[in-house]
């Protein structure tokens, strides 16, 4: 049996986490959640995910900070990270790219396109 792809979703909005969970679970993915960058890093200390999907605007540690910390770690240095955000400015995209993000998706998201992006980056 093929191993189920596990996704960590990081978003401070419970509504958005619920939308992501429904969209991804319906398409056969296992979903874990964190509500900001700090909680995501804590979770990643003892767990692992195949793909991380993160928001940018979050309290405590935002998406940029999370990407930088994940890339500086040893265990998750190559983990695909997709940014999912209401932001679309080139400046923010560049910051995410420089921090080491794998891709950028603008909200509102299309569940099919999101699942296709996850399939493409998961390894």
């Amino acid at each position: 049996m093929e191993k189920q792809t596990k996704i960590l979703t990081v978003d401070d909005s419970r509504s958005m986490r619920a939308l992501l969970r429904v969209a991804l679970v319906e398409r056969g993915y296992e979903v874990c959640e964190a509500e900001d960058g700090v909680e995501a890093l804590e979770w990643l200390e003892t767990n692992s995910a195949d793909v991380i999907i993160t928001d940018i605007n979050m309290p405590r540690l935002d998406g940029f900070g999370l990407i930088e910390k994940v890339r500086a770690s040893t265990r998750h240095i190559d983990r695909p990270i997709l940014v999912l955000t209401t932001e679309s400015s080139d400046e923010k995209k560049k910051r995410a790219r420089d921090a080491g993000a794998t891709g950028w998706i603008v909200k509102p998201f299309d569940p099919e396109k999101l699942a296709a992006a996850v399939r493409r980056v998961a390894h």
């Binding site: 419970r14 509504s15 605007n57 509102p108």
Partner: protein
């Protein structure tokens, strides 16, 4: 941002009309966010410490609690966009308070689309732990809302439903939504 000079009164008040599908925020004490609602919903959020407020305005054709569809995605997006725009101006989500206006079922023979839209806004705010301190929704009247964003003061006047603009549901941009860019 659309500012109608005719509506600026002597006290330096600047009226900003919030059109359907839009989000406007302000930390300026002279700015009044204003809109007219028939079936449409306007959520007004306010952070009393940062003194930042904002309003959105939407009408979705099929917001649904039982199934998650494109309209639900778009409604949550418009609520989140309001929150995020305020965060950039120094607001904190945990301090935000909300008012909800509109959602009238103006035409008796129509589906209760206004009610379903106000339910979507309420559900979002409840899920996000944002307290709703005032609501004036439903009924058959239209409403004119004036919101002093920076102080969180709102005035909602009921106007005859026949005078309300006939709103068409916001068309959810189908093709460009959720485009993915790989780095």
């Amino acid at each position: 941002m659309f500012i109608d000079p005719k509506l600026q009164d002597a006290s330096r008040r600047v009226r900003v009309t919030v059109m359907q599908g839009m989000v406007e925020t302000s930390a300026d004490q002279d700015v009044v966010l204003t809109t007219v609602l028939g079936s449409c919903i306007a959520a007004c959020l306010f952070d009393p410490i940062a003194r930042v407020g904002g309003m959105n305005h939407f009408l979705l054709a099929e917001p649904s609690s039982s199934q998650i569809n494109a309209d639900t995605h778009y409604g949550i997006y418009l609520m989140e966009l309001l929150v995020n725009t305020m965060l950039k101006q120094g607001a904190s989500k945990s301090r935000m308070k909300a008012h909800i206006y509109g959602g009238g079922n103006i035409h008796k023979n129509m589906q209760p689309i206004g009610q379903r839209n106000s339910e979507l806004a309420e559900r979002f705010l409840n899920t996000e732990n944002i307290m709703i301190t005032h609501r004036d929704t439903g009924g058959t009247n239209a409403r004119r809302v004036d919101f002093l964003a920076a102080s969180g003061k709102a005035r909602c006047r009921h106007v005859d439903g026949a005078a309300a603009p006939t709103a068409k549901p916001t068309i959810v941009p189908a093709k460009s939504v959720g485009d993915v860019e790989f780095f």
